[in-house]
Amino acid sequence: MSSDKSRFVPELTKGIFRENATFVQVLGMCPALAITNSVMNGIVMGIATTFVLVMSSLMISALRKLIPSQVRISTYVVVIATFVTVADFTLQAMLPAAHHEMAAFIALIVVNCIILGRAEAFASRNPVLLSIADALGMGLGFSFALVLIGGVRELLGSGSFLGFPVFGPGFEPWVVMILPPGGFLVLGVLLLGLAKIAEVRSRVAARSAGEEPR
């Protein structure tokens, strides 16, 4: 149990940067692009996905010894669909405006590859506490990506952030950024930037490793 606790924090943080679902593993693309035309949508979608991810990981991890391996995928899918239904109805009741805007994409959390991926790769073979840490980290990393993409697109596409105008009245909105092509282009450029950072870091690491023996 003590080893579980000591692994809690690393499992939590790995999902946020090092194994970020969107930027590093390129999973869960559909919601990451479809609803990120504003920051608010990104936040709501991030919270909903994190909720489903944590709850289904908890459930699957708790039941992992009872689920026969032949029917595991169907079992996971049913568990996930149940929690998505809960999230869907809750949002419909509490944030009807945001729900209306994203309608189908809340229900589509069921088929977000990140959730099934974590269930299969992590929750089905790790204890409950670690699974929650892993799910929470992945969820936060995903939310971070959504807010980042949403921020860039809203800033360029409507000149505002969270609905507040940023650039003043003289700004001519770059409308294509909140339309579908903007999603692809912004994520493409962000990935390009990350690839550059990774390259520079690995070069620095290689240089310092080369100098150390001397």
């Binding site: 899918v77 049913v78 149940t82 239904t85 069921v110 088929v111 092509p181 390009l192 690839a195």
Partner: protein
């Protein structure tokens, strides 16, 4: 009636193309679009699953979910999962080479958002059996069109001299962005009618 069906067909195929304007089915769009032939065949498999899903959704909506609307999501996903399992068995038996080429992306049709989205859109727009079928065929062809276009471009790109950093995912996204821009041109297609 037929004019409405025609509108449904072209709007799902071009104007509201599932991949390029709704961002549905992106995983296979980026994963399997390396080779033209594989992309085409995955498109066919997708279309087949879409058609079966459309009929199954109609049956569920008309006869079952009237009594328990809150089970909609679970019912759809179970039907989709079993359909995909069935298609997988058929392909494995009849076309083993294709089965190997598609690899993990065949069972992953279950988690292809396009399939579940079809069931949800069909329900929320109140399509009947015939309209649903037309919608399914058009969406399937739309997915296939996007996949094949992407695969064609990527096969060409492999032979050209691209900056090293751009290779891989980043370039695929930029290509998709430009394709999506091009498809926006179809938006005016039905504005006059």
């Amino acid at each position: 009636m037929s004019a409405k069906l025609l509108t449904i067909f072209f709007s799902a195929l071009l104007i509201n193309n599932f991949t390029l304007s709704y961002f549905l089915g992106l995983c296979p769009f980026f994963g399997v679009s390396g080779r033209l032939q594989t992309a085409f065949r995955l498109g066919v498999a997708n279309t087949f699953v879409l058609i079966i899903t459309s009929v199954a959704t109609w049956v569920l909506n008309t006869y079952v979910l009237v009594h328990a609307p809150y089970l909609a999501l679970i019912a759809y996903i179970l039907v989709i999962a079993s359909t995909v399992q069935f298609v997988e068995m058929v392909i494995k038996k009849t076309l083993p080479a294709l089965f190997r080429a598609l690899g993990i992306y065949l069972p992953l049709i279950t988690t292809n958002c396009a399939i579940l989205a079809l069931a949800l859109f069909q329900t929320s727009r109140g399509y009947g059996l015939v309209e649903g079928l037309v919608f399914a065929v058009a969406s399937g062809l739309g997915l296939m069109l996007a996949l094949v276009l992407m695969a064609g471009i990527r096969e060409e790109a492999e032979l050209s001299n691209i900056p090293r950093l751009l290779r891989g995912t980043a370039m695929s996204f930029l290509i998709a962005g430009i394709l999506s821009l091009a498809f926006m041109g179809f938006a005016g297609l039905f504005a006059g009618s």
